[in-house]
Amino acid sequence: MIFRKPENWSMYYKETIRQMYDIGIGSLMIIFVVNIFIGAVTAVQFTYQLSGTFIPKYYIGYIVRDMAIIELAVTFTSIILAGKVGSNMASEIGGMRQKEHIDAMEIMGVNTSSYLVMPKITAALIVIPILVSLAALVSIVGGYIATIYSGSFSHEEFIQGLRSFFKPQNVKMMYVKAFVFSYILTSIACYQGYFVKGGSIELGHASTRAVVFGIIVILMADYFLAVILTG
């Protein structure tokens, strides 16, 4: 039902652009702030754990890069978006259900499950992988700033680490995860909002369920993808 041919492509296009703006621009700030600190903490923690060992210092750059690309940027970004975007989508659609907007559209002949859900999923599938790429970049920058400016080691060592043992397969893994998590978080949120029944308390519960289920399913999917993609 969701992926039926739209009644009018331009209306769907406009709605997709609006959603892309909401998800993308609306989440930039929080993604930047969270990921810069995640990168910084990763670098500081590993510097501490590897100190006094025979592992070369430049390995920190390599660890920060791979942890950001393979796991932290994509998972943290998706979890943050499950909270921010997921609850927003569930509330938006749920509010429309309660104010009879969905009934009004149904009576006009609009395929509401398609018009309200498809642009959101499409927008998420386009925007979230871009956000994840930025998150990975910011995370690495965070790691760089935290270690270089604290004097733990030199710029050259960090860059050497970043350039070491690079596998393009890891970037592919990041994008696969980003696409899967985008679909999970939007589809769960839209489902919770679309089928909400009752009043404002139920709407609050639906919004909470969207976030909780979204996060749990993302983490489960993360495990299975890790097993499949690294196997």
């Binding site: 009644e7 209306m11 009879e100 009934d103 009004a104 009576i107 006009m108 002949g109």
Partner: protein
């Protein structure tokens, strides 16, 4: 013309509608009246296909709504307009965007043509010049009229209104009634209004379906309502002490004239 035949509807153990048969006539304002909980809204939602009946048929001319596939239902809905009790105007859109929404979605008209149609509909409900306002910036009565404008923008063959007078002062309510009645007559459409407003019953009730506890208790028109011997109907109509006193005074006057 819309005809309902043996409509039953249950929610879990509660039977809400118990075998309704009624003909909603073309070119007339058809009213569904009854106390709260009588099943009016459920019947209206069945008529527009938002709820499926447990048993029975809804005939739009010769087409049975209950056996339509998704595509046929969408085609039918292009001929249906509906005014909701809470107006259901989209808050984030301007008045013009709200009314234009069905045109944007289903027609290939140019923006100029769509604007002309929107302005015509706004004029029809006496609301010129509010195109760029948002629903929250206008009164409840104006919102109702915008709802009517949106429901007629695609020139529907069938118009539905769920309690169009609820929450309105008597004067505004009368204007809404007059508007719905004149739109019905001018365009020769089938209008079905769900109400418990006595003014509406007496002013625009061309064809009335009175529901009581899920059953069709009485049918007739506005001129037959007062003369009906049906006690449940009389109790419903003269429920307010004010109307009861008026009725008693009128009867006394009649007796004294005799």
């Amino acid at each position: 013309m819309i005809r309902v035949e043996g409509i039953y509807k249950s929610f879990k153990d509660a039977e809400i509608l118990k075998g309704i048969d009624f003909l909603f006539e073309e070119g007339k304002t058809n009213l569904i009246i009854g106390k709260s909980g009588a099943g009016k809204t459920v019947l209206l939602k069945i008529l527009v296909g938002l709820i499926k009946p447990t048993k029975g048929h809804v005939w739009y001319d010769d087409d049975d709504l209950c056996s339509m596939n998704k595509h046929e239902l969408i085609t039918l809905r292009m001929q249906v307009g509906m005014l909701f009790q809470g107006n259901a105007l989209f808050d984030s859109m301007t008045i013009e965007e709200n009314i234009r929404f069905p045109l944007d979605m289903f027609t290939k008209k140019t923006l100029k043509e769509k604007r002309t149609r929107v302005n015509f509909c706004l004029e029809r409900v006496n609301l010129e010049g509010i195109n760029n306002k948002y629903p929250s910036e206008i009164s409840g009565g104006m919102q109702k009229r915008v709802g009517i404008a949106r429901s007629i923008v695609l020139k529907p063959k069938y118009l539905f209104a769920d309690e169009p007078n609820s929450g309105l002062d008597p004067k505004t309510a009368i204007r809404i009634d007059e508007l719905l009645s004149s739109i019905t007559k001018d365009n020769n459409i089938t209008t079905i209004i769900n109400t418990h407003d006595m003014n509406s019953v007496m002013e625009i009730g061309d064809n009335i379906c009175f529901l009581n506890e899920g059953k069709l208790e009485w049918k007739g028109n506005k001129s037959e309502v007062l003369e009906s011997p049906n006690e449940t109907l009389q109790e419903f109509i003269f429920a307010s002490p004010f109307l009861q006193r008026l009725k008693e005074n009128a009867l006394k006057n009649l007796e004294s004239e005799k």
